[in-house]
């Protein structure tokens, strides 16, 4: 056995080397920030990302978030909301959380909004939804296993929302040259009871999902407008 030790050690060393080599290529994929090019064109390890790329990524995030939230809402409606209650006053009775800050609803009005306000609006939307989604996850746990997909989607959306927030902050920093501190998420959902009725709970969750879907759509639209303004200002205002 003693003779085999050097062989074993050598084998081990070789394996480690092989793994290092293998993972070296994947190093970037595993979480290292991606290669970015600065204005000079050289690739540097990334603290810098171009504005176009950032905008594209942010828009992708927003699109995905909206898509998933739409799926969740539809699923929830099919699973838990009886048909008779789907189009009823609950839909209108809900007070979406973000009603507090008015966002214009027409294109003309929105186009009048400056970049700054657009960005800030988006950021505000994003930040205001992180907490409710976390709460929603907790409430969804109370359902049976049928809600697992919705729960997973909600978790996924929460994660994406956090990264979207980072992207927006970065955008603000780049486009507006502002520095933003991390905003503390307000506790806005303490008003909910600990043990609500089932029906009310369902309706409330449904309301949350629909409201979130709406706000996700808003984010997406705003960001796309922003992108247009960034690329070609002239054509963006022709309508």
């Amino acid at each position: 056995m003693s003779e085999a030790y050097p062989g074993l050690v050598l084998l081990l060393v070789l394996q480690v080397c092989a793994w290092v080599l293998l993972l070296w290529r994947c190093w970037g994929v595993l979480g290292y920030p991606l290669d970015c090019k600065d204005e000079q064109g050289s690739i540097i390890s990334c603290t810098y990302i171009s504005l176009e790329k950032l905008l594209d990524r942010v828009i992708q995030h927003a699109e995905l978030i909206y898509h998933v939230s739409e799926e969740s809402c539809t699923l929830f409606e099919e699973m838990f909301v009886p048909v008779s209650m789907r189009t009823q006053q609950n839909r209108a009775r809900n007070t979406c959380i973000t009603k507090a800050f008015p966002i214009p609803g027409s294109k003309s009005e929105i186009q009048k909004i400056s970049d700054k306000w657009l960005l800030h609006s988006v950021l505000m939307l994003v930040q205001s939804w992180i907490e409710p989604l976390v709460y929603l996850q907790k409430t969804l746990d109370r359902y049976d296993d049928a809600a697992d997909t919705i729960l997973n989607k909600t978790k996924w959306v929460t994660n994406k929302l956090s990264s979207l927030e980072q992207g927006i902050v970065e955008l603000i920093r780049k486009m507006l040259d502002e520095g933003l501190l991390a905003v503390e998420h307000q506790q806005t959902l303490t008003r909910f009871d600990a043990q609500p009725e089932v029906v009310e709970s369902i309706l409330r969750d449904y309301a949350v999902l629909t409201c979130f879907k709406k706000d996700a759509h808003k984010m997406e639209v705003f960001l796309k407008l922003l992108k247009c303004r960034h690329t070609d200002k002239m054509s963006c205002y022709i309508s």
């Binding site: 009823q88 209108a92 966002i103 294109k107 709406k214 639209v221 963006c236």
Partner: protein
């Protein structure tokens, strides 16, 4: 004011006797028109009765008038319930709603649409701003009235003289009801790539959809079919505004249509059809066709070749692989060998009379000296003198005989018996002999001398012979080995085959003896004293039968009249004479089947020539003569047969 339940009603000015109420999100018209009708009838009837009672004709007329009025009213009803069909927004900036009217109840009915907006005051009911733009039974909301991300509650109310009816409310969020118009300016263009045609279809988005600013993002789908085809072939084009279609059938007319859809919304209608004709073209042959043709051709050729080969198999075989000729000597007939006539064979070979003929035998016989007296005696010390005497005599005789013809060889030291035809060579040793055995054999062979010697304490040696000393150990073996040795040590180009009967079983010992005996005379001398003497068993006799044509000395064991002929001497064996030592000593090889037995190379300048030279009658080759040999005359030992070898055969 109307009150029903906990809801507060507003009186309906158009409707007597009925109430309708509004809630925040629903418009429900509650009509009591029907319920009020019977009460009117009842009243009028009662009145009629009273009138009847009061005044006759007047009352009847009045009644009639009232009845007709009632009948007229009974033919009309309030309108049926309208149904909201859909609301759509083509570009996410405006939207329109359409409804389906119910029955009009025989009266002119008008419809009005009311909506409330989420977030506004609960009782802020608005009416449709535009009934005309979107067509009949529609309501169009322009930009100022459209707000995204706000839920509208919309309902339609049908109204006629007798009543109104409200439809079920519809909840609308403009962002989710987008259905764009059809794509525009569809163009299909035929292009070729690598000689293959394809269709490039281009289009524009609907002009109202604002895709440039990113307000709305559209995805497209294209479909086409041949004019006479049954099914459409759809392709999803993503967000691009052109698409390439491959795999078209030439000579056909294709129909192309495009439609679009926002990210989340409804598909538009299919656009107007565009016709495009694919012209006929010559399709260049694909390489696969060529490959197929090549394969078929090769298969055919292969089959033909195979058939040809099968037919002409043998000829081809003989052509490709010619038969290997056997070995053949010109002028030599292998049949001769088979027939066994060696004379013819040798004549063919060109050896004329090479092997000594049988008349040599006679010659041989003549010159052989017979030594009867000591045939059976094993020579010991006392025998020496005899031997010496014998040798002398023989030697003298030999001397005399030297120089004679080919058959006059008396250098062969053989003890010849009295028999004229046979010569015997006594090869033997006394069992008690201390190792000295001498074999002297003489025969008048062709210059071959076979000398045997005894070696013992006595220095009865050949002073000259290099390797002519035989050391007697075992009887037969020893002697034979001697013969071997001498034969092998002689350098001679012409070998003679001696026929020595030997005991094969003792070959090993003989070799050993070979090795132990050095060819050097001196060493022999030196070592002779130390040579252990092995007891001898018997005396062996070898007789030279004849000298055959091939100059072979045919020896055969003497089996007649000798008692001590060991039984192992059976048959005849041919021993090759390996050489002649200074024309006097015939060294026979021990025939062990290999040339290698002739391994005694005592003579430093003696080469063993195993080949038989067909020089009949002539001694070919030179014998490297050792000086000692030349002087090999009758030495003190007396065993020297210094008869010169016959120089020629």
């Amino acid at each position: 004011m109307c009150k029903k339940g906990k809801h507060t009603w507003k009186p309906n000015p158009q409707h007597m006797g009925g109430c309708r109420w509004f809630t925040k999100d629903s418009l429900v018209s509650f009509s009591e028109a029907f319920s009020s009708k019977p009460s009117v009838l009842e009243k009028s009837l009662k009145r009629a009765e009273r009138m009847k009672e009061a005044c006759g004709a007047k009352c009847v007329l009045f009644l009639l008038f009232v009845l007709t009025w009632l009948v007229e009213n009974a033919g009309h009803t309030s309108p049926g319930k309208p149904v909201l069909l859909r609301c759509r927004s083509p570009e996410k900036e405006t939207f329109a709603c359409w409804w389906q009217p119910g029955s009009d109840g025989g009266l002119s009915t008008n419809y009005s649409l009311y909506y409330t907006m989420e977030g506004s005051r609960e009782d802020a009911v608005h009416e449709c701003p535009d009934y005309k733009t979107a067509g009949l039974n529609s309501c169009y909301f322009n930009k100022t009235y459209t707000s995204l991300w706000i839920t509208y509650t919309i309902s339609v109310v049908a109204q006629n003289a007798l009543g109104n009816k409200s439809s079920d409310p519809m909840f609308v969020d403009v962002a989710y009801i987008v259905q764009p118009h059809k794509p525009e300016n569809i163009s299909a263009e035929l292009r070729t790539q690598d000689q293959k045609p394809y269709l490039m279809v281009k289009w524009d988005p609907p002009h109202k959809a604002d895709t440039k600013s990113g307000w709305i993002t559209l995805q497209y789908e294209i479909r086409l079919k041949p004019e006479k085809g049954a099914e459409w072939e759809s392709h999803y084009a993503g967000q691009q505004k052109q698409f390439n279609v491959f795999s078209l059938h030439p000579g056909e007319v294709y129909l192309v249509q495009v439609r679009c859809k926002p990210d989340h919304g409804f598909w538009s209608e299919w656009s107007s059809t565009t016709y495009i004709e694919i012209p006929d073209y010559f399709r260049p042959r694909d390489t696969s066709v060529w490959i197929l043709i090549a394969v078929l051709l090769s298969v055919c050729i292969f089959l033909i070749l195979a058939w040809t080969v099968a037919i002409k198999c043998n000829r081809i075989k003989s052509y490709l692989l010619p038969p290997v000729p056997g070995p053949k000597i010109i002028g030599f007939d292998t049949q001769l060998l088979k027939s066994g006539k060696s004379e013819d064979l040798l004549n063919a070979l060109g050896c004329q009379g090479f092997p000594p003929t049988s008349d040599c035998e006679d010659l041989m016989v003549e010159f052989l000296e017979v030594d009867d007296s000591d045939e059976q005696k094993l020579v010991m010390n006392e025998g020496e003198d005899d031997l010496e005497g014998r040798v002398k005599s023989s030697g003298n005789d030999v001397d005399k005989d030297s120089g004679r013809g080919s058959c006059d060889s008396h250098t062969l030291l053989l003890e010849v018996s009295n028999s004229s035809t046979k010569t015997y060579a006594q090869v033997g040793g006394n069992s008690n002999n201390k190792g000295s055995v001498k074999l002297s054999r003489k025969s008048s062979t062709n210059g071959k001398l076979l000398s045997f010697e005894t070696a013992g304490e006595k220095t009865n040696t050949w002073p000259t012979a290099n390797s002519s000393f035989l050391l007697a150990r075992q009887s037969s073996c020893y002697n034979i080995s001697k013969i071997h040795r001498e034969a092998s040590s002689l350098a001679n180009k012409a070998d003679m085959y001696g026929n020595i009967s030997s005991a094969q079983s003792k070959s090993k010992e003989c070799r050993e003896l070979h090795s132990t005996v050095s060819g050097d005379q001196k060493t022999w001398f030196a070592s002779k004293k130390h040579i252990p003497l092995l007891p001898f068993k018997s005396v062996e006799y070898v007789e030279v039968q004849k000298l055959n044509q091939q100059s072979m000395l045919i020896l055969k064991p003497k089996t007649e009249g000798h008692k001590s002929v060991p039984p192992e001497f059976i048959g005849q064996e041919y021993t090759k004479v390996s050489g002649v030592v200074s024309d006097r000593v015939l060294l026979l090889l021990r025939d062990t089947g290999a040339q290698g037995s002739s391994n005694t190379q005592e003579g430093e300048n003696q080469a063993v020539h195993p080949s038989l030279q067909c020089q009949v009658g002539k001694m070919v080759g030179t014998f490297p003569a050792s000086p000692a040999l030349e002087g090999m005359q009758l030495a003190a030992s007396g065993y020297v047969d210094t008869a010169a070898l016959l120089q020629s055969f």
